[in-house]
């Protein structure tokens, strides 16, 4: 259970320690990547709590979402429309929904435990 959390911390440290400069043109992609990653992670936690977790779906969703969002942003940059906003919107809404579901699941679990006692 603690392994993913450790992995997260490890990743954050790694990211802070890396000293790569990327051109400012690609910062849109980065923001989308952050959102996609967060969305997938929260989605995975929700699936785990609902006991429908499937690692294949999880992994493929992670990479596919990131690639799709980046592709959308790329297209948007090239046709002059801020298409990445669509990705941000979709991911943001889903993030909030997933977090709400997680909250409810945890709350019900908590209450069940209380009732059992």
């Amino acid at each position: 259970m603690w392994l993913p959390l450790l992995g997260l911390i490890f990743g954050v440290v790694l990211g802070i320690l890396t000293d790569i400069q990327i051109p400012s043109v690609y910062e849109n992609y980065l923001s989308i990547a952050v959102l996609a990653a967060l969305d997938t992670m929260v989605g995975g936690i929700r699936a785990q709590l609902q006991q429908v977790y499937d690692d294949k779906v999880f992994i493929s969703g992670f990479f596919f979402n990131i690639i799709l969002a980046a592709g959308l942003a790329f297209l948007g940059v090239h046709i002059g429309v801020d298409l990445y906003l669509a990705a941000i919107f979709a991911f943001g809404v889903r993030l909030f929904q997933n977090i709400a579901v997680i909250r409810r699941l945890i709350l019900t679990k908590f209450e069940n435990r209380k009732l059992n006692k």
């Binding site: 392994l3 993913p4 959390l5 992995g7 997260l8 911390i9 490890f10 990743g11 954050v12 440290v13 790694l14 990211g15 802070i16 320690l17 890396t18 000293d19 790569i20 400069q21 990327i22 910062e27 980065l30 923001s31 990547a33 952050v34 990653a37 967060l38 997938t40 992670m41 995975g44 977790y53 690692d55 999880f58 992994i59 992670f62």
Partner: protein, 262 residues
């Protein structure tokens, strides 16, 4: 048929139960493998997510530090500080200059009091300084006012009755020839290297703009100055000929600032 069916249904249901039971019983056996696979997937995703978050944090931090200390801003600051330093230095030097000039004058006075022949030199020096505008011109003199002529509806060209810089040049040259010691226009002391430009209705003297009327003050021998200007066919006649209103007044005390006061 009916009889056969019922047990079948029941069997199916039982089978389902059995299957689910089997699944449940299988899980503990595969648990370690399943868990490890699951965890590895989760671990990879978590590491990547963390990496992206950390990376973008790092990036935005870099940008923040960059924007607060952008090269242009720094350069501007640098220039401003330089300018202030230079101005202060200038002020110091100007003060030093004034002090030294006072000293020199004191020395000269000392010398001249000692030796009579130096008196003449000192006076000459004072005269020259007046001309250069380095010492305040105080004394009797004349005040000449040049005013634009009245509006004349018969002439369409206003150039025919306004004061031009050429008129002022004429006046100044005449004054200098007549021995004016110090000259100022509208309060601006003239230096030997002053420039005067006609700039439409105004004239520019050493970068300062002045509108008409122009008050030219000259320190010097009043009689000589006035009579030299009033020669027939001289400056006044020429000016009046060109529709300019000229007034002269003698003044017993005309004061002019030194150049460094301005």
């Amino acid at each position: 048929m009916k009889v056969v069916r019922r047990p079948k249904k029941g069997g199916n249901w039982k089978n389902k139960m059995m299957n689910s039971d089997n699944n449940n019983s299988k899980q503990p056996k595969q648990k370690s493998l399943l868990l490890s696979r699951k965890y590895i997937a989760l671990l990879i995703v978590c590491i990547i997510t963390g990496f992206i978050i950390g990376f973008s944090y790092n990036l935005s931090k870099d940008k923040r530090t960059l924007s607060s200390a952008s090269p242009q801003f720094e350069q501007e600051n640098q220039y401003r500080e330089d300018l202030i330093a230079k101005k202060e230095r200038n002020k110091e030097l100007a003060e030093e200059l004034a002090q030294l000039e006072d000293k020199i004058r004191a020395y000269e006075k000392q010398f001249s009091s000692n030796e009579a022949q130096y008196e003449q030199n000192r006076q000459d020096a004072e005269q020259l300084r007046l001309l250069l505008g380095l010492s305040a011109g105080v004394g009797p003199g004349i005040k000449i006012t040049l005013r634009d002529g009245d509006y004349n509806p018969n002439t369409t060209n206003p150039n025919e009755y306004i004061v031009h810089e050429s008129h002022i040049f004429k006046l100044l040259n005449e004054l200098k020839i007549a021995g004016a010691e110090g000259i100022s226009i509208n309060g601006q002391r003239l230096k030997p290297n002053s420039y005067i430009i006609c700039n439409g209705p105004v004239i520019t003297i050493d970068g300062q703009q002045y509108p008409a009327p122009f008050v030219v003050e000259a320190v010097g021998n009043q009689e000589v100055l006035v009579s030299s200007l009033e020669l027939s066919g001289g400056v006044f006649d020429q000016l009046i000929n060109e529709q300019i209103v000229v007034t002269v007044e003698k003044s017993d005390l005309i004061e002019m600032k030194t150049i460094s006061d301005e």
